[in-house]
Symmetry: C2
Subunit: 404 residues, 2 copies
């Protein structure tokens, strides 16, 4: 007697979560040190000391009645003002507290935005490959997810396909930059091209087409890459941010929505977002952690750890003869399956205790995703296992691979 | 370009929240000590010291990487086991960790349950008067809320109306005990009568009709009253609990769903709830506060504070000539408006800086709700204002009212 949608959800449950649970079970059997778990994007560096100290100070010093009480559904006013000021400093924006809504992570942010703007049957586009939950989030509010193909050489959007997929029913497009699962970054040039198409289509159809910018990986950027801040390029942009990855806090569920004052119907939109935040059942983002992250807005993310893993994994796998999309952001590596059926490849890899997620989950069959947010030691130890896997597929080593 | 539902939601936004915002604005103008704010159910006693200590210990002692990481979507296994054991001890139930899902408060719990069981067009019943958000929660998942009338003498359910309102489309019934906004408690006798009707209707229609038991006020019970634990009476029961009121933590968003193993399709239901928890965007209940509430499961709620307010308010208003439903649970008093249009009565009361919420919001026109979770001093100070209000309506004092 559960609902049809729930039955479907059970049947097609997240391959990421399923693989994570399988990895956990395998670790219990053969020892955690013998399992190479590339399944889940669970940060592998601890939250910074400044966050721990902030949490203790807040709980010790603040009046518990005020600290734990209801607040406006949009979140603590001072927290929102601090986030706005920090964004202004970093991106030369013009936000105030009234442009920010605190949310239960980026997953909460995306659902709040989608509920606020979607009518039944509206279409929401996403660039393949994409985070598998987008499909569920859009479906929660009776929208339809429409997938835009990538250029399989560069994993940038296929703009011809984008033009085709934007219809009179398109209400929004989700941009995730840096990209989960491909690990690439859309440069300013790419963003400008996307925005040009959107502006043209807005004009053509005579209504807003929103960008929903999903930015949990904003700070995870390597080398000289830059991630453009989208409200600077397109005023109908919702930014959905999460502190899960940048501060290693995924279990605490804290993020925000930022909306530029220039957005069409700004006041109605903000009222709608605030009400949606309440009505979906979030009510407000958890209080203590709202207060704590404010003390860490200038704390840098521990990039070195991920960068070390990134280089080891990419260089190692390329040298073994695998083909990988060159990773420049987030903590994912996208590997081309050496056989067409990547699900079978994932099964074969399990023999060597390598746990990866099939690309079909991300609407991109033929590839697999490796989350390299495991310990560097475990990553190093996985290399002999990958070597056996490469041998099983008869891959030819690239002895002269230079690496990054 | 926001959605139609969101437009409607803005137009009919929560009278509770609107009154709370108005009270806050009035307080800024005339001084907080001159505003008698009975609008919002924001606990007025601080969280217990044991919770503050637990939070500090957890943040100090636990490995931040483990503490703040993703966990299973249902929540920390040890937390769920502890809650199950505590329920077993108190209510002679037979729960284990597998029967509990940690949620973002009771609002989160209700949405997770509703998403899991509702197909478009399914009906969900609620007993009037009810918490106004039920309508939004049911609508989130395309269900229809059906209202069952109360017996206006006792504010117990009208069973004849209940029989009429349960149809072949009824998927669930929400029971909120103690009741917000009426402040009454459904006794074991009342619960048994409700359950009898449900069992008969389940048989008649040949499918499950679930109870969704919304229990944020479970611990707020005065005198000798008892609140029956519903899984003991009816196996197709979801219990949705929140620590918001019992531990004065509404801003932290922590609660749970408890499901008895005897429920039909138990495994599918639990899988469905777990996935819904993730897919709606909660992902999991916030981690630190999950760990902290476990240390407070045996900590008694500060009832004395609310009981003092309850007696002062009920006795005071009855003596002034108002008619009130006798409050026995939660922290609400339901007052019969001295004029038919209770919205006008609410406006008149504002002249005296008394902020109440109209009963229409709770599907019960002709009444108003007073949340007596304000300071006892403020409550005492409000009495001369109520006296003026009574005089304006020409109410006759009950000089000999004995009180509770």
């Amino acid at each position: 007697m559960i609902s049809k949608l729930t039955k479907e959800a059970i049947a097609g449950n997240s391959a990421v979560r399923a693989m994570f649970m399988e990895a956990t079970e395998l670790a219990a059997k053969v020892g955690a040190e013998n399992v190479y778990d590339f399944s889940l994007g669970n940060p592998a560096t601890p939250a910074p000391q400044v966050l721990t100290d902030a949490l203790i100070d807040i709980v010790k010093d603040e009046d518990p009645l005020k600290l734990h009480s209801y607040m406006p559904n949009a979140g603590h006013e001072d927290v929102r003002a601090a986030i706005a000021a920090n964004l202004n400093k970093r991106f030369d924006t013009d936000f105030g507290a009234g442009n920010i809504i605190m949310t239960v992570g980026a997953a909460g942010a995306l659902n709040v935005v989608l509920k606020t703007i979607i009518d039944p049957g509206d279409e929401v586009c996403a660039f393949s490959p994409f985070f598998t939950e987008y499909r569920n989030y859009v479906r929660n509010w009776q929208g339809e997810l429409v997938c835009i193909e990538p250029d399989y050489e560069t994993f940038m959007p296929d703009f011809a396909d984008m033009e085709k997929k934007l219809t009179a029913n398109t209400k929004a497009i989700i941009i995730n930059n840096p990209v989960n699962p491909s690990g690439v970054i859309y440069s300013e040039d790419t963003i400008k091209k996307i925005v040009d198409v959107l502006k043209k289509k807005q004009e053509e159809y005579g209504h807003e087409i929103y960008i929903i910018s999903d930015e949990p990986y904003r700070e995870l950027v390597y080398g000289d890459e830059k991630v453009p801040f989208l409200t600077k390029y397109y005023e109908n942009t919702f930014v959905g941010y999460s502190f899960s990855k940048s501060l290693s806090l995924p279990g605490e569920r804290i993020g925000y929505i930022a909306v530029p004052s220039e957005m069409a119907d700004f006041k109605d939109v903000m009222d709608g977002l605030t009400i949606s935040n309440r009505v979906i059942g979030f009510v407000n983002a958890p209080s203590i952690i709202q207060k704590a992250i404010v003390k860490c807005l200038d704390t840098p993310t521990d990039l070195e750890f991920y960068d070390t893993n990134r280089k080891l994994l990419y260089n190692g796998l390329m040298s073994l003869g695998f083909d990988c999309v060159k990773p420049t952001g987030a903590f994912y590596l996208f590997l081309k399956s050496p056989e067409a059926d990547e699900k079978h490849f994932v099964e074969v890899a399990k023999k060597y205790h390598i746990m990866m997620v099939n690309g079909s989950t991300f609407n991109c069959p033929g590839y697999v995703r490796l989350a390299y947010c495991l310990s560097t030691e475990s990553l190093k130890n996985s290399m002999p296992a990958f070597e056996k896997l490469a041998a099983e597929y008869g891959l030819k080593k690239r002895e002269d691979f230079k690496g990054i």
